[in-house]
């Protein structure tokens, strides 16, 4: 029985990047629980400026070694939107195929290397070398399959090559695709075994309903694109993501947080399955049924199961895409959709393994990047993760400290946080106040958004509720701004009446 405990898990292992969990228990009551990202900041949004558009695409994949295809694709979609480039169907099919490779590799890595050890009671999969050789071999096989699929389509898994604006500068080898297809079909058995493995693991029966956000497409499972969809408020064009996604900064973490309708929302495999359940093919549906995953599912631990389902989906749909490609015949795209840089702005939204990913860029007429805004799945999930921790931890306070520690770790890991992705992390001294970070305003450049009044705006953020409300301000006072009026707006969350923002006029 623990009545007093100060749990601090420093540099949580088996996640991507650096994160700490802090939980303070006093008198048998949970006082505080936090997940902090302590990754060193990398300033992508700063140094992408002035870069030519092809360098932007090149650098974009460097945001994350595990979701490089997603980042590259999001950047390409944004660039192609900005320059009004239409890519061929073949290119779209190939990009989708690359996504299946990446999603599969990411899910397999997470499920087998990061999650499974929790449930098998070992520190790492490598420790199973003796005991579960078959499991290890299967994990390796699936991972290799996913990597090879990426290699076939985009040269390599980490930092794809030749995945360019306008299309691919090389011709894919039909024989290679055919070999991949055979291997994918063979891999179905491994997927079934994976389903069996995760079916056998007992997940905590914790539930908390939240807002599920993902892309949604009428006919295709939406990794590569679709409308933006929230389980609370329905569809939205991806270009309008700023109307809904509101990013803010918490003092204990170097990654940004985000909110939508509720104070927090969830993205990722579970959200995708919840929002696109009808699009699962027979093989993926079979997996979902065997895992007992029914939409809507409110158990965040089931994110792992959703990942298994998506792994099945990747294998299933990759085969279909290869069939489609071979049927059409893979052709040289010698006349790649020509990219003529022009002054413009574009948004690219895709589903990265961990959830919805937005890239937005503005370019000048030479195709040089004027500004960049990147919204990363893990950042969007952090708020929801903390709320889950807050609602999950009180049920654990009677347990041994090590048990609490492990349980909290397992919950965090279920989210598969990918912290290296945190493109615009900030480093704050421990400070009671919460700070909102300047986002991008429609039509204005970043520079303009940093008017002297901004300081005033930040300083006025709410110290009480811990929630920034710039999102609210942006939405509410947008029209007033045009009138050039200055307006004082109070925090709508805490209602203390003391915190307010002076919204600058134009």
């Amino acid at each position: 029985m623990v009545h007093e405990a100060n749990i601090h898990i420093h540099h949580l292992t088996r996640v991507e990047g650096h994160g700490d969990i802090t939980a303070v228990i006093q008198d048998g009551e949970l006082k505080e629980v936090q997940f902090s990202v302590v990754e060193a900041p990398r300033f992508f949004e700063a140094f992408l400026r002035d870069r030519a558009y092809d360098e932007v695409a090149h650098l974009a994949s460097r945001i994350c070694g595990i979701c490089a295809v997603s980042h590259r694709a999001a950047a390409l979609k944004a660039i192609e939107a900005a320059f009004d480039v239409k890519v061929s169907e073949q290119t779209v099919l190939l990009r989708r195929l690359a996504f299946y490779g990446e999603i599969l590799s990411s899910h397999v890595l997470h499920l087998y290397f990061l999650v499974a050890p929790d449930f098998l009671g070992v520190p790492s999969l490598l420790h199973l070398a003796e005991r579960e050789r078959e499991t290890i071999k299967r994990a390796m096989r699936l991972k290799r399959l996913a990597y090879d699929l990426c290699r076939e389509v985009v040269g390599r898994h980490t930092h794809p090559v030749a995945m360019n604006a306008g299309g691919f500068p090389f011709v894919h080898d039909e024989a290679g695709l055919l070999r991949m297809k055979d291997r994918l079909i063979e891999a179905k058995e491994d997927i079934r075994e994976t389903v069996s493995l995760f079916r056998g693991l007992s997940l905590p029966s914790f539930e908390r309903e939240t807002e599920y956000v993902s892309l949604k497409h009428p006919s295709v499972y939406p990794f590569y694109g679709g409308d933006l969809f929230s389980s609370e408020s329905g569809s939205l064009a991806p270009e309008a993501y700023r109307e809904a996604v509101r990013e803010y900064v918490q003092p204990h973490s170097t990654a940004k947080y985000a909110r939508w309708n509720r104070s927090a929302y969830m993205v990722g495999a579970l959200s995708r399955v919840n929002n696109n359940h009808g699009l699962l093919g027979p093989f993926a549906r079979e997996a979902a049924d065997r895992l007992g995953l029914e939409a809507p599912c409110h158990n965040p631990f089931m994110n792992n199961s959703a990942q298994v389902v998506e792994s099945a989906l990747c294998v299933e749909e990759a085969v279909q895409i290869i069939d489609r490609l071979l049927e059409r015949g893979v052709r040289s795209e010698e006349e790649l959709a020509p990219v003529h840089p022009c002054s413009g702005r574009g948004v690219g939204a895709v589903e990265a393994p961990r959830g919805t990913l937005f890239h937005e860029y503005a370019f000048d007429d030479q195709g040089r990047c004027l500004e960049a805004n990147l919204v990363i799945p893990t950042a969007q999930n952090l708020g929801n993760l903390e709320e889950d921790l807050r609602s999950y931890a009180p049920g654990l306070v009677d347990q041994e400290e090590s048990v609490i520690e492990r349980a909290l770790e397992v919950l965090v890991r279920a989210y598969d946080p990918c912290i290296s992705c945190s493109t615009h992390v900030v480093r704050l001294e421990r400070d009671p106040s919460t700070h909102e970070q300047a986002g991008m305003k429609g039509g204005s450049t970043m520079k303009e958004s940093r008017e002297p009044d901004e300081r005033e705006e930040r300083d006025a953020l709410c110290p009480e509720c811990g929630h920034a409300f710039k999102a609210y301000v942006d939405r509410v006072v947008q029209d007033d701004k045009k009138s050039g009026m200055r307006q004082k707006i109070e925090c709508p969350v805490c209602g203390c009446g003391e915190c307010s923002v002076v919204q600058p006029g134009t």
């Binding site: 292992t13 088996r14 991507e16 990754e39 060193a40 900041p41 990398r42 300033f43 700063a46 140094f47 400026r49 002035d50 870069r51 030519a52 360098e55 090149h58 650098l59 460097r62 945001i63 994350c64 070694g65 595990i66 490089a68 890595l109 290397f113 050890p117 520190p123 790492s124 490598l126 420790h127 070398a129 390796m140 991972k143 290799r144 040269g155 390599r156 980490t158 930092h159 090559v161 360019n164 500068p169 990219v339 840089p341 007429d365 030479q366 195709g367 290296s420 992705c421 615009h424 900030v426 480093r427 704050l428 001294e429 970070q437 300047a438 940093r450 002297p452 901004e454 300081r455 930040r458």
Partner: protein, 269 residues
């Protein structure tokens, strides 16, 4: 001769962790590796971890004080320090922000709040502590990781490959991408990647840094004047191809190197 197995550890700093993921791609060979080493710490793959290790692989650039201290501790512990990947070896794109001072970059990103934050110019591992082995590449190439691992375990040095990418590109029987209208930094970039980008018809962006004694003056002239197809292509798309553009392009991975080269030769792009 059989002694205790050396203990190996992986650490990451500001990076995308892609290089460590590449190490994971050793797959079955990981088990071979485990015949020769013990893994003391590898946060991406293993819970727990030990502070006693002999060989430390460091991925990423050093861009804040905490990381700097962590790296110093690693250097004190490990007999062998390896900088894994371009971020760790030459600074990579992390160093792009160094073109501004710390204050400026913060100003750029955080405006009036700049005073609240701290950032140091991103530096390669070797600029902070002495490094025994360097592995280049964004991400590091798996065959090279293997070679370096073997060299470490057999006590051999690993000199940085000093041929330009063109050598490997040609060995792969590729048509020069320049002939296809793609501007390429391959001729001045270190090889070791098996010319993967150009083999897929893409441009080399110089992720492995400059070769020794690169002819930068020629590179700029070639890229701005001589390039039959590539320049025609760019011009057809309404782009200016000038020194400024090439200089920016070179700095993608070579910011720190370029400065050195400029100091050494008195001219750079």
């Amino acid at each position: 001769m059989k002694k205790e197995k050396p203990r190996i550890a992986f650490f990451d700093f500001a990076c995308c962790e892609g290089c460590q993921l590449t190490v994971l791609q050793l797959e079955e060979k990981l088990l071979d590796l485990l015949d020769h080493v013990e893994v003391a710490a590898w946060r991406v793959a293993i819970s727990g971890g030990s502070d006693a290790y002999d060989i430390a692989f460091c991925e990423g650039s050093i861009s804040n004080r905490e990381d700097e201290e962590r790296l110093h501790r690693i250097r004190e512990t490990a007999g062998t320090v390896v900088s894994l990947g371009t971020c760790a070896s030459i600074g990579c794109h992390n160093a792009l922000k160094n073109q501004w001072t710390g204050g400026e970059v913060l100003e750029l990103v955080y405006g009036g709040e700049a005073g609240r934050f701290e950032t140091l110019p991103a530096r390669p591992v070797a600029s902070v502590v002495p490094v025994d082995y360097q592995i280049l590449g964004c991400p590091a190439s798996l065959p090279e990781i293997e070679i370096v691992l073997k060299r470490i375990l057999t006590g051999q040095p690993h000199p940085l490959p000093n041929n330009p990418v063109c050598v490997e590109c040609k060995r792969n029987d590729n048509l020069c991408v320049l002939e296809k209208g793609v501007m390429c930094l391959g001729p001045v970039t270190r090889c070791g990647c098996d010319a993967i980008c150009t083999s897929y018809g893409d441009a080399c962006q110089g992720c492995r840094g400059l070769v020794d004694e690169p002819n930068l003056e020629a590179a700029v002239r070639v890229l701005t004047e001589n390039h039959r197809h590539a320049i025609m292509d760019a011009v057809a798309r309404g782009l200016r191809v000038d020194r400024e553009r090439i200089r920016t392009w070179f700095s993608l991975y070579n910011g720190p190197d370029l400065q050195l080269e400029q100091e050494k030769t008195g001219h750079g792009p």
